[in-house]
């Protein structure tokens, strides 16, 4: 330990030397002058500047300037009501500009808004924040940690394995259709379209979600799906502060769905035949051989999960950062490391490495310099480098971890062992090969990616021209590149057909093998340029606060690997944005915003859109008449906003141009195209329309209330969004138009989305050694499709209009058939129908169950309710915290496929989940069994129609994280010049409670199609147990 710290100490020592050299300077009297400002760079008049330990003090003038005579060894104290007092050593400096930060909860508190900062009290839009500290958990993807932490965010983690487990993020749910983008705009350090999944949470200064029209209309056609603003940390004036945090954890699957074993599978298959009047397929004797396991090669009984997955994986996280600076320059430099080893076993049969690992390195540097008294320059550079290793299955774009997990559902337990004793992998004549072969025996892939994103900001104060005016510019150029290499081979598979007289296995080869290791590779690259310039105005005239912003920006994205001419055209956006704010006496606030933005994706005449918004706020508690109530209700603010925003992100480009492409089926009558014009013909691949962006019309009402002397805070938001002009392929155009499958896209969809966001916090320091912090959030939304571009349906229950955007199309199950009379008197269903089969409702009463009996049902895999409660409690050095998160109004449609649909290929059908043990049988005719009467491909019937029989509630509540920490007393650590040392243990996804018990209920569908089903075939989410320490020097 000591040896490792040595370089650190030397580094520290040098820093100390540099900063303290002046100590030995000769004593003399200096005149120090400078300017005191708030975080918005507005001058603070009447602030006090005092020489520490004396009563000598001066007061700043209205423009924040001061001048005081001091001794070089003196320290100055800067103080002002509502702001934290700042102390600075003089050390021979004659210019000392000081920025005071407000006391939390005071009227001067500042918050991040779109394209800038504002006083928190003056914000009239709906926005919420998360404490970055809460995101420091043993997980790679911070998006997955947001669920329940911020009101207004719906976050869903769908598993995926190390490095591929990005969560889906929605702001206030879904308000659009089909291929229109549903995801929010992400802005990091002022630059749009940066990925945030892989930011080291340690580097985050602020994390803000903008939810309503007035906060997002400045983003114009990009704002309708909400905006997430992330700013990374910057240095603060002072001695270098060094933080080091290291932790190490064990991981496990949240839940592994249980599969049946070989004897059970075979008995069930027999039952599926006998229960329909057929002879059993497997003899009792044969089943016995699988059960006793005496010859596991010919009569296997394999638990594929055990063969492929270990019980534990690993995570490691480490970060070291240093920050500091003076009034002229500041810096924040950080290096982070994240490592995860997946739960897939490693047993490569050749020289390649199938170890399932992910490593990520984050480097972040933010440096700020005051070039002149009025010019500031900030440079930020973030680099994310990651590398992922694991098996290679089929292609680089296939998620191998998911694929291998799916393999365990595919191959049943009784057909082949993982490997034969002769060393060959097992395979089946029907094309299955041992999942173990796919995991360990066909190759490995290594993928590397690097993201480099520098941004340079220059800010010039124009106070000399007009007081309160400044201009700033921002330029960034982000580069992403990745490279993948794989070593692959087609290892031999054999199938054992019996044993010869000596008991030796008789095998035959399945498929062709090519054992020569071959190499394959792929790479992608893209780049993004962003340019912004803005004029800012902030000034206070007595009780009047006036602010303004006029901003121009443009961006360009180039896909360096474009596969077609269309995608190779740069993606560009350009816009002008403005804001005007006015506040009176911290009581009344009004604000108007607009975005005028355009993209190349629309026709020249419809390229730019104008998106105005308006908001007003009233801090009732600052009114005189309110003072009697202020003991109970210490802060009360009402605000309302309304405005327009747009969404121009759509799957297809240049819809305003018809595109004719060569028919893929070339017809040139055998004439080589080199000799004559190639007569391949042309066909319209896109029918031009003249569409534009979709527009969101949003109302938002916000109520902020603080009780108990601001200890208990509540923010309630009610919103109503009407999204119009949603781009939809116009299905009312008859098929006889000849457009074939490519119906023209028009602005026809309308969706109404309504909901509530609520957050409640209670923070209380009870006494010097005891505190409690509690945050609870609640998010609810409900959308309705008002217009979807579909022609009128044959029956009202088939209509999508009036239902949710992701509503599913389901048959209605009314139970299992009870008796023969029931069957005879019910509508005709296809196939072999007996007691215990699912009975469907004949909605149109025509006596037949067919597609006209499917109805749209308001269920989807995207939760409508998401909530969380975070409680932490400190006593003396100890702290303990727990975060409970849950979802509500979410459904899972148990799908038919590998693992779920029994015996659709007869005796060579895929494996089955053990939940099939809960089924209707003649011996136990349970009307509420999970599965109806078994059936096989011999007697197909309608049990597996996509119906609400298979629809299950997937709400859950889980102990998402829990942590216990201990901060060592300062006395014991001071010797090592350590300011603070905290050790902790924590865990994630520890306990889950859900009506869906079979697999992690969060592994649900993403819900964009009306018939999306779920089979649990993902590499599951993980839970982690973790220990770590954090030290500050």
């Amino acid at each position: 330990m000591k040896k490792k710290l040595l370089p650190l100490f030397s580094f520290l020592f040098i820093v100390f030397l540099i900063t303290n050299l002046n100590i030995y300077a000769q004593e003399r009297i200096l005149t120090v002058s400078g300017k005191v400002t708030d975080e918005l760079d507005r001058p603070l008049g009447s602030a006090t500047v005092r020489i520490s330990g004396t009563s000598i003090a001066v007061v700043t003038s209205t423009d924040g300037k001061y001048s005081i005579k001091v001794n070089p060894r003196d320290t100055l104290e800067f103080s002002f009501t509502g702001f934290k007092t700042e102390r600075m050593a003089v050390r021979n400096r004659v210019d000392l500009d000081v920025k005071l930060s407000p006391v939390a909860g005071s009227l001067n508190e500042v918050t991040v808004v779109g394209y800038g900062q504002q006083k928190k009290v003056s914000v009239v839009g709906a926005q919420s924040t998360v404490t970055p500290k809460d995101l420091k958990l043993p997980a790679r993807d911070i998006a997955g940690l947001l669920a329940g932490r911020i009101s207004g965010i719906i976050s869903t983690s769908r598993g995926g394995g190390p490095g591929l487990d990005n969560a889906g993020i929605l702001v206030r749910g879904v308000s659009t259709f089909g291929t229109s983008s549903r995801t929010p705009l992400i802005i990091i350090d002022g630059v749009p379209d940066r990925e945030f999944n892989d930011i080291d949470p340690e580097d985050i200064q602020s994390f803000t979600v903008l939810k309503d029209a007035t906060s997002t209309s400045v983003y114009g056609t990009r704002g309708a799906n909400g905006v997430i603003l992330i700013n990374t940390k910057r240095g603060v004036a002072g001695k270098p502060a060094i933080n080091i945090e290291v932790n190490q954890g064990l991981t496990q699957f949240v839940k592994i769905p249980e599969l049946v074993d070989a004897p059970t599978w075979m008995e069930l298959y027999n039952e599926s035949l006998t229960t329909r009047g057929r002879q059993p397929f497997y003899s009792e004797e044969r089943i016995g051989w699988h059960r006793d396991g005496k010859d596991p090669e010919l009569y296997p009984n394999v638990d594929w999960h055990k063969e492929l997955f270990r019980d534990f994986g690993l995570t490691q996280r480490a970060n070291a950062n240093v920050s500091g600076g003076s009034d002229k320059a500041n810096y924040y430099i950080s290096a982070g490391y994240y490592h995860e080893t997946g739960l897939l076993k490693t047993a490569p049969e050749r020289s390649y490495d199938t170890k399932n690992t992910y490593r990520r390195y984050n480097f972040t540097a933010n440096v700020g310099v005051s070039v002149t008294n009025t010019t500031k320059l900030d440079l930020g550079i973030a680099t994310i480098v990651d590398t992922r290793n694991g098996p290679y299955t089929t292609s680089f774009t296939t998620n191998a971890a998911n694929n291998i997990f799916e393999q365990t559902l595919k191959v049943p337990p009784h057909v082949i062992p993982p490997k034969y004793s002769n060393g060959a992998w097992a395979g089946m004549p029907n094309g299955w090969s041992s999942p173990a072969r796919i995991a360990f025996g066909i190759g490995s892939a290594n993928q590397f990616s690097a993201t480099i994103r520098p941004n340079l900001r220059i800010k010039q104060d124009l106070g000399a021209l007009v007081k309160g005016l400044s201009i700033s510019g921002l330029f960034s150029f982000d580069v992403y590149t990745d490279a993948s290499v794989a070593t692959v081979h087609a290892s031999k598979t054999e199938y054992a057909e019996g044993r010869d007289a000596d008991g030796k296995l008789i095998t035959r080869q399945i498929g062709t093998n090519n054992d020569i290791l071959s190499f394959t590779s792929a790479r992608t690259t893209n780049r993004r340029m962003y340019l912004e310039s803005s004029l800012n105005y902030q000034r206070t005239f007595g009780r009047h606060e006036v602010g303004g912003l006029l901003l121009f920006n443009q961006s360009e994205y180039v896909d360096g690997n474009a596969a077609s001419f269309t995608t190779s055209v740069p993606f560009r956006n350009r816009g002008i944005t403005g804001r005007a704010t006015y506040g009176y006496n911290n009581r009344y606030f009004i604000e108007g915003n607009f975005g005028y933005t355009g993209s190349e994706n629309f026709s020249p005449s419809r390229r730019y859109g104008f998106f105005p918004s308006f908001g007003a706020g009233w801090v009732v508690s600052n009114e005189k008449f309110f003072s009697p109530l202020s003991d109970v209700l210490s802060y009360f603010k009402l605000r309302y906003s309304y405005g327009l925003t747009g969404n121009g992100a759509f799957g297809t480009r240049f819809l305003y141009l018809s595109q004719l492409t060569r028919t893929s089926n070339v017809y040139q009558f055998g004439t080589p195209s080199s000799l004559s014009p190639s007569y391949s013909g042309y066909t319209e691949s896109q029918i031009a329309t003249d569409p534009s962006w979709e527009t969101s019309y949003r109302h938002n009402l916000g109520i902020e209330m603080n009780f108990l002397n601001n200890d208990l805070k509540m923010i309630l938001e009610l919103f109503r969004e009407m999204r119009r002009n949603i781009l939809r392929a116009d299905q009312t155009i008859p098929l006889t138009s000849g457009f074939g499958g490519v119906n023209p896209t028009r602005n026809i969809g309308i969706v109404l989305n309504k909901g509530i966001d609520l957050s409640v916090t209670y923070n209380k320091t009870i006494n010097k050694s005891m505190w409690i912090n509690t945050t609870a959030t609640f998010t609810y939304n409900n959308n309705i499709n008002l217009e979807d571009g579909l022609p009128p349906q044959s029956y009202p229950w088939m209509e999508w209009k009036g239902k949710e955007v992701d509503a599913k199309e389901l048959y209605t199950a009314v139970g299992l058939f009870k008796d023969q009379r029931d069957i005879d008197t019910s509508a005709r269903q296809t196939g072999d129908i007996r007691l215990g089969d699912i009975k469907y409702k004949d909605l149109n009463g025509d006596g037949v169950i067919d597609t006209y009996d499917r109805s749209r049902v308001n269920v989807s895999g995207t939760p409508k309710i998401m909530y969380g409660i975070n409680i932490s409690f400190g006593f003396k050095g100890f702290d303990i915290g727990a975060f409970i998160q849950g979802t509500g109004k979410v459904w899972l449609l148990y799908g038919s496929g590998d693992g779920t649909f029994p015996f659709k290929e007869g005796a060579t059908s895929p494996s089955l989940y053990a939940i099939i043990k809960d089924r209707w049988t003649e011996g136990n005719p349970n009307p509420n069994a999970f599965y109806p009467r078994l059936t096989s491909n011999q007697d197909p019937n309608s049990n597996f129609l996509v119906s609400d029989w298979w629809l299950k509630r997937a709400d859950y509540i889980r102990l998402k994280s829990a942590e216990i920490g201990y901060t060592l007393p300062i006395g014991s650590t001071r010797k090592l010049s350590i300011k603070k040392l905290r050790v902790y243990v924590n865990g994630t996804n520890l306990i889950t409670i859900s009506p869906w018990k079979y697999w992690d209920p969060e592994l649900n569908d993403t819900g964009t199609s009306s018939t999306t089903i779920t089979r649990g075939g993902f590499y599951p989410n993980i839970k982690a147990y973790n220990v770590g320490f954090r030290v500050t020097f």
Partner: protein
């Protein structure tokens, strides 16, 4: 005041940014858009060529022309769906007709766009292009009405500016056929008005020409006469059209081997065909009928089997049915037999009867099923003429034409009874022998069923005991898209 310089520079730079060039005005991403595609006369030829790909696709689809007939049974594996099993229903095997209307829409677009072009220097080219397009449109509508019966008639080009694209109900099949006849007659008058018109001109056997449009007209009118009670007028029209075909210089191959063995371009018998070539189009439907080597391993007559080395070139899915083979039982030495099927002989005895009608081409590496698919050939037209005469109750000329086809088979002239019913049954059987696996059989059965010669519900083994209608159901997409469209009769 020294600060004024840096801040002026910085401010000037920042304010200058919005003045950059118009970055959003990108060039058209595709050099070809509808607005600028039909810009000169030369643009029509390639577009029409492109429409022929639809003809190739339809003629290569045996679901509609063959699978519901008695011709095929499975061989090494089964490729059959609900059409073969005769279990079509609105939810299974139902048709989305958008592919047909896509082809028709292309024709409509050409006919619309060419209005603005007079082709002053090549008036004949313009006539030919319009005639070919009309011929293609007639082909597509005929293909469709044989499958679904009543069909919407969409005859105008749709551009997106039309906000009102008509919602059309199904027109009666006879009206569809009337439109087909109108198109064909227009095409015929365009051909005959060309300055260099010659009945015998086939610029290409792969494209619509005077002879092939007449052949199509004959087929259409016999269908009208038999299936939709078109009366003697229809049969007379067919005979008149066939007279024109006969005058167009086509002649039978003396050796039946050459019917599919010689490419259409050089084949005297072929009137219209779809072009197939290994590297251009890939395989035709014969692919499923060719056995693969491992599937016929050990056959004593391996050399005479049309096997491919790999399963990608021969899928071994179908063989000729016993019922189709039985049509030859009276004529064991019919010269067509070796070019219709060959029975695989294993040590254990005869096994699968492999179809040799479309044997593909044996290349150095493997056999590839890339014979041209014949749409019309003279023997087919002779039998159509025989059918028309028989329908007109003129058995003797019918037998004449039947005998023209029998000439090269070695079976001798027809000697059976000469009453209408017997002759008609004989014509059907002769079509079964002559045109086996040429993707015509189901339409033949429908015609002769409607004409009273057979009861298709007793004739086709899979239809026995079923009531599946002769026309296909429409799928839910079609019905949901247009509420004027009613489900095909018999599926409600």
């Amino acid at each position: 005041m020294k600060l004024i310089i840096p801040f002026c520079v910085v401010s000037a730079c920042l304010l200058a940014l919005p003045g950059c060039k118009k970055i959003l005005d990108v060039k058209s991403p595709s050099s070809i858009t509808e607005d600028n595609y039909f810009s000169n006369e030369g643009d029509f030829e390639p577009y029409v060529t492109g429409i022929y790909t639809f003809m190739r696709t339809f003629s290569n689809n045996i679901t509609y022309g063959t699978e519901r007939s008695e011709e095929l049974i499975s061989a090494l594996n089964s490729r059959f769906g609900v059409a073969w099993a005769q279990t079509l229903s609105p939810s299974s095997g139902a048709i989305n007709y958008s592919e047909w209307y896509k082809a028709i829409g292309h024709c409509n677009l050409v006919l619309e766009k060419i209005k603005k072009f007079d082709f002053p220097n090549n008036p004949d080219t313009r006539k030919r292009i319009v005639a070919e397009t009309l011929g293609l449109r007639a082909y597509f509508y005929f293909h469709l009405t044989r499958i679904i019966g009543d069909a919407p008639l969409m005859l105008k080009a749709v551009t997106v500016e039309d906000n009102m694209i008509p919602l059309l109900p199904r027109s009666k099949a006879v009206d569809v056929i009337r439109q087909i006849n109108t198109d064909l007659d227009s095409a015929i008058s365009l051909y005959t008005s060309m300055s260099n018109f010659n009945v015998k001109t086939y610029p290409s056997k792969y494209r619509m020409a005077y002879g092939s449009v007449q052949a199509l007209k004959a087929d259409v009118n016999i269908w009208l006469g038999k299936v939709w009670a078109g009366g003697d007028d229809a049969f007379n029209k067919a005979i008149a059209a066939i007279n024109e075909v006969e005058a167009s210089g086509v002649s039978l191959n003396t050796d039946f081997r050459n019917v599919t063995g010689i490419r259409a371009g050089a084949n005297p018998e072929v009137i219209l065909a779809a072009y197939f070539l290994r590297d251009e189009s890939g395989s035709n439907y014969g692919l499923n009928a060719l056995p693969y080597l491992t599937g016929v391993q050990g056959a004593l007559n391996l050399d005479s089997l049309p096997y491919a080395n790999t399963t990608s070139n021969g899928q071994g899915a179908y063989q000729i049915s016993t019922k189709s083979r039985a049509l030859f039982s009276a004529y064991p030495s019919d010269k067509r037999i070796p070019f219709t099927w060959v029975t695989e002989r294993q040590n254990s005895g005869p096994k699968i009867s492999w179809i040799t009608k479309y044997p593909g081409t044996k290349y150095a590496d493997d056999r590839v099923s890339d014979n041209d698919i014949i749409i019309y050939r003279l023997a087919d037209i002779y039998l159509l003429k025989a059918e028309a005469y028989a329908a007109l109750n003129s058995p003797l000329p019918a037998i004449d034409y039947l005998n023209k086809v029998r000439l090269r088979t070695g079976n001798g002239n027809y000697t059976g009874a000469t009453d209408k019913a017997t002759v008609e049954k004989e014509i059907l059987d002769e079509r079964g022998r002559e045109l086996f696996f040429e993707n015509k059989r189901w339409y033949d059965l429908v015609r002769f069923h409607k004409g009273g010669t057979i009861d298709v519900y007793k004739y086709v083994p899979n239809l026995v005991g079923k009531t599946t209608p002769l026309f296909w159901p429409l799928n839910s997409t079609v019905l949901a898209n247009n509420n004027l469209i009613k489900q095909t009769e018999g599926y409600n």
